[in-house]
């Protein structure tokens, strides 16, 4: 027994590691984590590991320990279904319920009907006489009709669609679909047990009675639990134990009745009063272990039963294609027609059709039950797993193709931010400021508004707060919870904005709050889409890298297609004395341009431009462009600039020493100093450590468009003409 336990633990180790690894790849290609977990499971089974190294597979997953793995996966499934029920908030059933019920049910009826017809072809081929045609037909129909509410909810949250007309409609449809599909599955299981609709009637009756019992007595009991939580304000282990016992008892009862464990667990979650604090606490306490440890085991167990090698003839691949086409076509056509009848527009109805095709994990649960009951054969199971993978994989790209995010956002029902108007986007100087922690980034925001100012041209600062979703099924990534997180961020950002001085600068600030699973990529995308001129970031020390400017800063630097400045705050509140170490490269020019903007926006500010030369350079080589630019400056600005040229063998030491007398040093990165584009490199790294003032490291994106004179030509024109000047300034950047 001890050996078996060790082997199971080893299996779990391999499963979790591979799930995470493939999950990262899926995240990278903008796919839900669930795809990665399903694929990881399949990779460990006969389809890949068993095919490449049958000996290794046989040693790692011997038949003797598979039942133990099954027990773990079933426990995981029970608590996962409880979590699904828990997040099924009646709030989702409020938006356009009539259209949603119609769309949802027709989106089940059409694939179910097509599945029924497909059964005529498949039953003689891939089933056997021990399964009645009715049970086979019901199961195939149910498998075709599934929409995975949890996966769909995450796709909607990740695309920031939860407050759009399409998002709310899709969520309501999927919630109705979920409930209906589970009822259909319960019916299919009952019929499969008895191989006859008539003999299954007592089971169906008992199940209905149990549902009534849970909705009345069960809910009454759980309401008392919620009331206890309200009183005490915390979820004790005693209460948690009581709830878990209720989940397990309910699961066992439904299994004994002849449906399945999962329905009992789901019911407890569904009837649980949706007290926000209790649900959040319960989900957070339950989900970590279930989602990271037990659920990957379920995927692995499922993968061990999936053998793509069974599709060893072209005809079988044709059958598989038929299954996929019927599933996709049925769901899409059903949803599209019903939505159109319900008055939904063409494009939205089409997008809804693709969204409802997400089958993911829910499909896998249904298929595993079918295979365990023997209703579907291993060959059909494999075909249906491929169908689940394809339908889940295609959702995000097809959604984007049918209904690009920009179009969907025009339908936002409850806007939480002011989006920049398109016509002003070009004429305005925009600074995007990623703010991860509003409590510690006041200095960064103060610098942003100081650079933006309003003396040169109209300027807007966009503090960007990204709510990061890491886990696909985590409670924190459900639409309602995401909204709650956004509201929290919004209020914290508002506090930060209200703390900025002088008060008039607050009007130039337009926060952007988004959900994402990739902060760096989203930042770069928003910067490009909103035509930001500059990304101004705070310095984050990476946890697992020796590179001082690595981590997310490094990722944004390598992906953003706009100018980037990284601010290292030494806590100096004033920004009156500025130092620019200038060596005539494009990154230094960006530093100088930002310094000039600061000069224009604050009459009290002074700038010192420091040029260091070594023995083989002459002063004349360096200052031609600089002196041309100086001539273009208005005298009110020029008189506040000092040029200082010093000879130094080690420029870095001269800069560090000079920085002691300034509030802010603005230094460009440079390849000439052996600095890498992605990380800013060794020189800047040293400067980040040793610089005695606050430091702003600048990196210009395009090497072709460096032109300091554009800023000056902007300044020569009055603010009333700032549209033209803005265009010139933007063209130059």
């Amino acid at each position: 027994m001890q050996t078996k336990v060790i082997l199971v633990l080893l299996e779990v180790l391999v499963v979790i590691a591979l799930s995470r690894l493939v999950g990262i790849v899926c995240r990278w290609i903008k796919q839900p984590l669930v795809i990665g977990e399903i694929v990881a499971g399949i990779m460990l089974g006969p389809s890949l590991l068993g095919w490449l190294a049958p000996g290794v597979e046989a040693a790692l997953f011997p038949n003797t320990v598979i039942p133990l793995l099954n027990v773990l996966s079933q426990v995981g499934l029970i608590f996962f279904m409880f979590l699904i029920g828990l997040e099924l908030n009646p709030k989702y059933l409020t938006g356009k319920l009539e259209v949603a019920v119609l769309t949802s049910h027709v989106s089940i009826l059409v694939p179910f009907s097509l599945g029924t017809l497909l059964a005529l072809l498949l039953y003689p081929q891939v089933s056997n006489a021990s399964v009645s045609f009715t049970a086979f037909c019901l199961f195939l129909g149910a498998a075709m009709s599934i929409t995975a509410f949890p996966v769909l909810a995450r796709i909607i949250t990740e695309n920031n669609l939860q407050n759009t007309r399409l998002g709310t409609l899709a969520l309501t449809c999927a919630a109705v679909d979920d409930i209906t599909a589970w009822c259909l599955l319960a019916l299919a299981i009952a019929v499969a047990h008895y191989n006859s609709m008539l003999h299954a009637l007592p089971t169906i009756g008992e199940s209905l009675l149990y549902v009534v019992f849970m909705v009345t007595v069960g809910r009454w009991f759980l309401k008392r639990v919620a009331a206890h939580y309200e009183r005490t304000g915390r979820l004790t282990q005693f209460v948690l134990a009581g709830i878990y016992m209720t989940v397990v008892t309910s699961a066992v009862l439904t299994e004994v009745m002849g449906i399945h464990f999962i329905f009992g667990a789901f019911l407890v979650g569904a009837v649980m009063p949706k007290n926000a604090g209790l649900v959040r606490g319960l989900a957070q306490k339950t989900e970590d272990f279930v989602l990271t440890f037990l659920l990957p085991v379920f995927f692995a167990y499922s993968g061990l039963r999936t053998d793509i090698g069974l599709l060893n003839q072209p005809f079988l691949w044709l059958l598989c294609a038929a299954v996929v086409v019927v599933a996709i076509g049925g769901k899409y056509v059903g949803t599209y027609i019903a939505a159109r009848v319900g008055g939904i527009g063409n494009r939205e109805a089409s997008a809804l059709g693709w969204l409802m095709n997400t089958r993911g994990l829910t499909e896998l649960i249904v298929l595993n039950i079918g295979l365990s009951l023997g209703v579907i054969s291993p060959l059909l199971f494999t075909m249906l797993v491929i169908m689940a993978l394809v339908t889940t994989f295609m959702t995000s790209p097809l959604l984007e193709w049918t209904y690009p995010k920009e179009l969907i956002k025009q339908d936002i029902e409850e806007p939480f931010e002011t989006e920049p108007a398109l016509e002003t986007a070009i004429s305005t100087y925009r600074i995007l400021v990623p703010v991860s922690n509003p409590n510690t980034q006041k200095g960064l925001m103060q610098l942003a508004v100081a650079i933006a100012g309003n003396q040169l041209q109209r300027a807007v600062v966009h503090p960007l707060s990204l709510v990061e979703i890491e886990e696909d099924y985590a409670f924190g990534s459900t639409p309602t919870e995401a909204d709650w997180l956004i509201q929290q961020r919004q209020s914290r950002l508002e506090e930060l904005i209200q703390s900025l001085e002088p008060p008039e600068v607050r009007q130039t600030i337009q926060p952007i709050i988004r959900i994402t699973n990739n902060v760096a990529r989203m930042t770069a995308e928003i910067a490009t889409r909103d035509q930001a001129n500059l990304i101004l970031m705070g310095w984050h020390r990476p946890a697992f890298s020796s590179n001082r400017l690595g981590g997310k800063v490094g990722q944004i630097l390598s992906t953003a297609k706009v100018d980037v400045a990284v601010f290292i705050d030494r806590g100096r509140e004033r920004l009156d004395t500025l130092l620019v170490p200038y060596s005539a490269n494009i990154h230094d020019e960006l530093g100088l341009e930002i310094a000039l903007r600061l000069l224009f926006n604050g009459k009290q500010r002074h700038l010192t431009v420091l040029q260091t030369v070594s023995g083989d350079q002459t002063y004349g080589e360096l200052d031609y462009e600089f002196s041309t630019m100086m001539e273009q400056l208005p005298s009110t600005v020029r008189e506040r600039i000092d040029l200082k040229i010093i000879e130094a063998a080690e420029p870095i030491h001269a800069v560090v020493e000079a920085s002691a007398d300034f509030d802010l040093t603005l230094a460009g990165t440079s390849r000439a100093r052996g600095i890498q584009r992605q990380t800013l490199g060794r020189y800047t790294d040293q400067l980040a450590i040793e610089c005695r003032s606050s430091l702003l490291i600048t990196r210009r994106y395009s090497q072709m468009t460096s032109n300091l004179a554009s800023v000056l030509s902007s300044s020569e024109k009055p603010m009333t003409d700032n549209k033209n000047s803005g265009v010139e300034a933007n063209e130059s950047l």
Binding site: G55, P124, N128
Partner: protein, 170 residues
């Protein structure tokens, strides 16, 4: 109730009625006219009736058949006294000979995926094929009677009694 008008209700009602009628019609037709192949998956310890090689007399063979309708995947392996009985329809393992084939009218036809040897003698590896007829005995009992061919023309007759795989855990 902006869109839940008579048109929607009529559409909804018609759709449900159509699906119920369709399901009834299809299942009635299917139950009456469609015949799925008999379930034969399980373990078959092969008993050789005559002229079997010496090695098979000392180490009898076990044929595990995994069935998906008419499509069969099987494995042939030495049956040792202390080897555990198979508990799942797991795929062929390292020491097994994998076979694929079809079941038509209770006639089993299996062919090895690669060349293999049943006995560790000097004969070079060749494709293994199994042809057999399933005989039904009562409700659950099934037996297989047929020939195992390792080299062309060398048929070894066998009989085997089916031992169903244990019921899979849900």
């Amino acid at each position: 109730m902006s869109h839940f008008n008579f048109k929607s209700i009529a559409f909804y009602g018609t759709a449900i009625a159509f699906v119920v009628v369709l399901f009834e019609a299809v299942t009635a037709y299917g139950e009456k006219n469609l015949k799925a192949p008999v379930a034969i998956d399980g373990s078959y310890p092969l008993s050789f009736t005559s002229n079997s090689p010496v090695c098979l007399k000392s180490t009898p063979l076990l044929l595990n058949i995994n069935q998906s309708g008419t499509y069969l995947n099987a494995s042939l392996s030495p049956k040792s006294a202390n080897s555990p009985a198979p508990t799942t329809s797991s795929p062929a393992k390292a020491t097994q000979i994998s076979l694929t084939g079809r079941l038509n009218n209770q006639q089993v036809n299996l062919l090895s995926a690669a060349k293999a040897k049943i006995c560790p003698n000097g004969i070079p590896p060749s494709q293994i094929s199994i042809q057999g007829q399933v005989e039904i005995q009562g409700q659950e009992g099934k037996s297989l009677k047929g020939n195992l061919t390792s080299i062309p023309g060398d048929n070894i007759a066998f009989t085997a009694q089916r031992q169903p795989f244990p019921k899979k855990a849900e």
